[in-house]
Symmetry: C3
Subunit: 208 residues, 3 copies
Amino acid sequence: MPGMLSKILPRDETFFEMFVELAENINAGAKAMVELLENYTNVAVQVEIIKGLEHKGDTITHAVMKKLDQTFVTPFDREDIHEFTSTIDDVLDLTDAAASRLVTYRVDRIRPGVADLAKILEEATARIATAVRVLEKRNHILDHCIEINRLENEGDRVSRALIAQLFEEEKDPVQIIKWKEIIEVLEHAIDKCEDVANVIESVVLKNA
Amino acid sequence: MPGMLSKILPRDETFFEMFVELAENINAGAKAMVELLENYTNVAVQVEIIKGLEHKGDTITHAVMKKLDQTFVTPFDREDIHEFTSTIDDVLDLTDAAASRLVTYRVDRIRPGVADLAKILEEATARIATAVRVLEKRNHILDHCIEINRLENEGDRVSRALIAQLFEEEKDPVQIIKWKEIIEVLEHAIDKCEDVANVIESVVLKNA
Amino acid sequence: MPGMLSKILPRDETFFEMFVELAENINAGAKAMVELLENYTNVAVQVEIIKGLEHKGDTITHAVMKKLDQTFVTPFDREDIHEFTSTIDDVLDLTDAAASRLVTYRVDRIRPGVADLAKILEEATARIATAVRVLEKRNHILDHCIEINRLENEGDRVSRALIAQLFEEEKDPVQIIKWKEIIEVLEHAIDKCEDVANVIESVVLKNA
């Protein structure tokens, strides 16, 4: 695939290549989120990076839709491709939503433990990328889906602990409102990873 | 279709006619919401009007389901018709949810800017009605879907700005809880317009 | 089906038997929730019981998935079976989420009226169990779905009244945040019952 020509000629990517790009892009978004929470400086710039990845995801999604419109034989059902891209898009939308709330709410320091939730999102999206890379050959793909389910349960447990701690320690109701939501949006992004795994599972079962 | 007879005889509406009615009904709901927010008097009466439109939508949906049960050849897949009607139903449910919260929360004046969010909902639902009117002939239908996506992004931007302003200006946490939710429910109604557009897109792609 | 042998030999359950088990399990979860709210003692133990039912549901779901993977002819489309099990799973997830919030938020007494909302959930899940028991023979199944829709509307009405009352009576914003969410999660569980009914409706219409 590399080499001079492929850099010059317009690439005709396959669907699977575009799915991998989408998956790697949500993983890049999750990584940027961990970085932002662990190194909370130049916030506006870091939030813009995540927003940029979200726009990149939209561009790839539109390319998939265009290709779908011009292709007769697709690797799996058109409506499953549609659901896969829109669910994967949700993960990055929610990552971006969590990031942008830090700006909207003028958050000046990150509560301890919140970065751990973003790390679970990073792991879950990495696992999605792995699953999508083997989507064509299907080896061990259901194992990756099971692992994503496990990570979703862990995300649930961690976010509950963070919220319990928030109500325990924080007495200002406005701070409680802000942080409760940031934690929940991150958890929701992890939930969406499970939805992506469900779509993958469903596609694999249908084409078994 | 017009003329004396069609007014007298029981109409046997086609699926497409009923889809247009459903779409125009959610647009009527959004218009009533803008009116309510811009002219905040006789609140209980205006909220009842929106509730009435929601019931009307349920009646049309049941008629679609009944026709589906009695029809052998449908214009597109039965399950897509089902998803289309239930997603479009969600838009009006959420419009109604936003309206009814004004009563539940005993809101006595509307915060500046909130009507702008309802206007985006009005535009998005008008665009859905336009798309549904051309669903049979399919001309330029994907352009309408793209415009609905753009409006969803704008709704997102406006609601984020409203919430930032809310936290900036309002110091009473109870007022923050109430208004944050009203804004979010309106934004959610706009999000659902994007889901409707996705169903339309998916149907068009499947039957390409 | 009963008798000595079926108790000794490993059972090869049919899909329909497993669907009934899943439905009865969410009904058991709802019953345990009513019991918890009406008899608010030994909270940690009662919350664990609901968590246990949620794990049981996961186990049945995995068994369905495994059987799906090993079966050539399925009673209805593979993707519908997948959607049915994942939607029904959501009901118990949300029941468990409501229960666990009582612990997370260190709730020490239950507000009046909240148990009524859980009773609607109990009724809706009982109705799902009834619908699923007749799924194979299909008699009057759509009537059960209509009744679940009615219960969803009632859940909506009751939760709105509870939230209005909460804002009326409770002055502590932190208490408002906690109870508003517990009420909403319960209402969301009831909403999901309507989603289950929609999947059942859709399956019945498709296979009409």
